[in-house]
């Protein structure tokens, strides 16, 4: 089937303004209070959406698996947030941000969605300033900017190395205000385990209270998923331990299409893995590439030498060499692959030869240690705590790690999935980043969706539906609770020999090796053969202790792992079907002689949206063709 994203047409500059007036119905203030909206996830997208929808007068119920809405993983974003303010007078504009994002995404995103993102980016900065977000300022009191990968302008706003934290605390404060006013009912330590669909429309969710174990359905007039990304499918990633595909996967199994799951971002600057016991990888902000230079030894025999003993002429600053105009600020997918290439050639450093140097000595000489400390002090401290090394004195060691998912549930221009009443925001949807996300654009998207898009677009759906159509005793709700309970009981009944962590590590290792940074027909086919066996073994041999009626972290992890195992098959299948390289998706069969990713626009200029046909059955592929009327389809070059 050919999917329609319902993006407005005409002059791109007018699309969002015109769409808001021409195509979006309003709900009058007196009627808003009759509608209840369920918002799942309280990160930048969910938190800002829940707060804004409540301000408008809707009844809102918000859900988070963490103990407080302030802890969503948006909090860990370090470097910054993009906006087209052009304060530095360096040639930026809404059009340029739009252009950079389309190009950075390797021409695999919908133009109108990206235009809207660039347009509202400026409102986000204003909103956050008004909330008291302490952005970096210069001595005259004006907002400061830094540069990020994939752009030749400085458009990134930041709050030290904790921009995500400060923006999330801004959204959290707005959300908290609405909770205090009674406009939002907050359910922390509550995990969504099913989507309730009645007559083809999303009308509720079934959740588990993670403290008491209670299973119950919440009904509403619309459901908003803002449940983040899925790169924990690789087991080791920069995501928080609780980040999972579960909410998205449950919605997918109830009919929502999953789009472009193979678009995963491997972030170039993370602390390398130190051992098998490791539970997660830690990101070192991309902003470090503003002042750090990336290199490896030219000679293999130098790899075990102390970095400061390797003379300048024996170092290969490979990003500066290969991409002179962007240098160390090449986009993430390109920088990651380049690092892997150096290590594959045997020039990697550190344990297992899986690392490259990120060197600050030139910047320290030029700016002084004090300036570097002021800009990145917390990152240097974090690096030292983890590695026991002082990065002011010797270069950091970094290596790529799974970080972000560009793919997600398919949504139209109104952020509505193919299931009416189900809206998807932020990292959980697939909309704006194409095949590769540029740095500092995730925070922008989360807040754009939550503050400035969903409040308009959800009204259009609600205006055409009667409030309170479904009650909690509806047969679909009762069936949903029964299904969730059955799955839970099954997990507890297996009583096998392998722990949940062992299964997750097994799947993750397979995915990283076969479906990671370089994917081939052979590796993908191989993974698709092994995954069903792991799934079957899981349900026969997993060991989950305790009961369902209590706080049971093993049970939580078991459910998430079961979903990851199923989802891994879809990700792999998508990667196998897309016989081209684009952005974060690199097929070794599809590359230029110099190793750069080779797109196949004639055959693959579309978004792939998969429809579930049940576990173990082949999903059905739907295509949404991509049209580029404003940005000329071209080979991406950062040279």
């Amino acid at each position: 089937m050919i999917l329609d994203g319902k993006a407005p047409t005409g002059r791109i500059q007018d699309t969002w303004d015109k769409h808001r007036f021409d195509s979006l119905k309003l709900v009058n203030p007196a009627n808003k209070r009759k509608y209840k909206i369920l918002v799942v996830g309280t990160g930048l997208a969910g938190g800002s959406a829940a707060a804004t929808l409540a301000e408008l007068g809707y009844q809102v119920e918000a859900f988070a698996y963490q103990d407080s809405p302030r802890r969503a993983h948006s909090i860990a974003a370090q470097g910054g947030i993009n906006a087209a303010k052009a304060y530095p007078n360096d040639g930026d504009s809404i059009y340029r941000l739009f252009y950079d994002t389309i190009k950075g995404g390797d021409f695999r995103a919908r133009e109108a969605d990206v235009w809207r993102l660039a347009q509202v980016s400026n409102n986000i900065i204003d909103q956050c300033v008004a909330q008291g977000v302490p952005f970096a300022r210069d001595y005259a009191g004006y907002l400061d900017n830094r540069s990020f990968g994939g752009a030749q302008v400085s458009r990134t706003f930041f709050a030290r190395g904790q921009t995500g934290q400060q923006l999330l605390l801004g959204a959290y404060s707005a959300l908290s205000r609405q909770i205090g006013l009674g406009a939002v009912k907050m359910f922390p330590r509550t995990e969504m385990l099913d989507l309730v669909v009645v007559d083809g429309e999303a009308k509720g969710i079934t959740v588990r209270d993670l403290v008491t174990g209670e299973l119950r359905t919440h009904v509403g007039d619309a459901v908003v998923l803002a449940t983040g990304g899925y790169v924990n499918v690789f087991y080791l990633s920069t995501n928080a331990m609780g980040c999972s595909v579960t909410a998205n996967w449950k919605a997918h199994k109830k009919g929502a299409y999953f789009a472009n799951p193979c678009y995963t971002q491997i972030h170039p600057t993370c602390i390398p893995q130190a051992g098998d016991y490791q539970s997660k990888l830690t990101l070192m902000s991309e902003s470090l590439r503003n002042d750090g230079r990336i290199w490896v030894p030219k000679k293999k025999e130098d790899c075990n030498k102390a970095p400061n003993d390797i003379p300048e002429e024996d170092r290969d600053y490979y990003l500066e060499r290969k991409y002179p105009s962007f240098g160390n600020l090449a986009p993430r997918d390109i920088a990651s692959r380049a690092a892997k290439e150096q290590c594959d050639e045997g020039r990697g450093v550190g344990p297992g030869g899986r690392g490259v140097y990120l060197d600050f000595s030139a910047s320290i000489k030029r700016l002084g240690e004090g300036t570097i400390r002021e800009r990145y002090g917390n990152l240097f401290e974090m690096y030292e705590r983890i590695t026991d090394e002082n990065a002011y004195q010797r270069p950091m060691r970094i290596y790529p790690a799974p970080h972000y998912s560009m793919g997600g549930l398919w949504v139209d221009y109104n952020l509505q999935s193919n299931v009416p009443g189900l809206f998807v925001l932020g990292e959980a949807n697939f909309s704006v980043h194409g095949a590769n996300r540029l740095g500092a654009s995730a925070l922008m998207q989360g807040l754009a969706d939550g503050y400035f898009v969903i409040p308009y677009t959800i009204a259009n759906y609600l205006a055409q539906t009667k409030p309170g159509k479904v009650k909690a005793d509806h047969p679909e709700c009762l069936k949903s609770v029964a299904d969730v309970k059955a799955t839970r009981d099954q997990l507890l009944a297996v009583n096998g020999k392998k722990t949940v962590t062992e299964f997750m590590r097994e799947v993750g290792t397979l995915m990283w090796n076969d479906v990671g940074m370089a994917r081939s027909e052979k590796s993908l086919t191989d993974a698709l053969q092994k995954l069903p066996a792991i799934r079957e073994e899981f349900w026969q041999n997993v060991k989950v202790s305790g009961s369902g009626e209590e706080l049971n972290q093993q049970l939580e992890n078991a459910g998430r792992t079961a979903d990851f195992i199923e989802f891994a098959e879809l990700l792999t299948r998508d990667a196998l079907h897309r016989k081209e390289s684009c952005g974060g998706h690199f097929r070794v069969e599809s590359q230029y002689p110099d190793g750069e990713a080779m797109r196949d626009d004639a055959n693959f200029a579309y978004s792939a949206a998969w429809e579930s046909k049940g576990v173990g059955k082949d999903p059905e592929l739907h295509k949404e063709p991509l049209k580029f009327e404003n940005v000329h389809l071209a080979v991406r070059s950062y040279k």
């Binding site: 407080s68 909090i75 300033v129 008004a130 302490p134 707005a174 907050m186 974090m382 093993q554």
Partner: protein
């Protein structure tokens, strides 16, 4: 200790099945731990062993494991987060311990934080403080350009110093009075320092001080244990700032009768 050596440790852990059940210390072995294990990865190892032995794993809160979400929370040998300066428990590494060490592990202990299970406590009282007044009452849209409100670098830096709080509650756990003064003081100070937050500053401090009493937190008696335990290095000067803001609010008659009486009695 070299990176290749491993150590064996004895863990004495607080186990409690539920909120209203009696708790007790249990002893476990942590075997073959390397210096590169984080503290929580060491607990992962212990839990895997417990699961395989058919015992209940230790429940503990954790999420980002990079020191920013504020979810991890345990008292290690009597000190919240284990005593390494400016370090959350998830960022504490086992190179700070040595072979044969005995480690006591307990949950945050405070009246405002009821224990849910083992090391997991309910910190929603901190959220309630923010819900009362820890915000600027602006709604989405209709705000001026970001550069229309100038904020000097020193003011922005001061606000950021306060805003770095991760809301973990270690300050409350460390305080002999279980006060949330450092947590609340940081928020009051951040918003009182910035022009955007100054309009509501008197009402904010009055409401938050009242909310601390209402939610079971104690008061400050200048022990400064909070600052010592804070993984983000939040300074007690923010408590002093909150007190000054409170007195200013008092002069402006923004503080309710209850608070006035309370202040006079102390």
């Amino acid at each position: 200790m070299s990176a290749h050596e491993t150590m064996n440790l004895k863990l004495i852990v607080w186990r409690q099945a539920g909120p209203n059940q009696p708790g007790r210390f249990e002893t476990y072995e942590a075997k073959n731990i390397t210096p590169h294990h984080s503290f929580l990865e060491m607990l992962d190892v212990v839990n895997e062993d417990l699961i395989k032995a058919g015992q209940e794993p230790i429940a503990f809160d954790h999420d980002c494991r990079e020191g920013i979400c504020g979810m991890c929370s345990a008292v290690v040998n009597g000190v919240p987060h284990g005593g390494q300066q400016r370090t959350t428990l998830c960022q504490l590494h086992m190179r700070k311990f040595k072979d044969g060490d005995a480690i006591y592990l307990e949950p945050w202990r405070a009246r405002a934080f009821p224990i849910l299970r083992d090391l997991v406590v309910d910190r929603s009282a901190l959220d309630k403080l923010i819900q009362t007044a820890g915000f600027v009452s602006c709604h989405t849209g209709g705000v001026p350009d970001g550069n229309a409100v100038l904020v000097g670098k020193p003011q922005a830096d001061y606000a950021m110093d306060a805003a770095e709080c991760i809301g973990c509650g270690a300050c409350v756990a460390a305080c002999p009075n279980s006060a949330a003064m450092l947590f609340a003081g940081a928020k009051v100070s951040q918003l009182a320092e910035l022009p955007q937050g100054q309009v509501e500053a008197p009402q904010r401090v009055a409401a938050m001080v009242q909310a601390m009493a209402d939610n079971g937190f104690g008061n400050c008696s200048n022990h400064y244990e909070c600052e010592a335990a804070c993984p983000k290095g939040i300074k007690v000067k923010f408590i002093a700032r909150m007190n000054r803001e409170f007195i200013k609010a008092l002069a402006l008659e923004k503080v309710g009768a209850v608070n006035t009486a309370r202040l006079k009695s102390e």
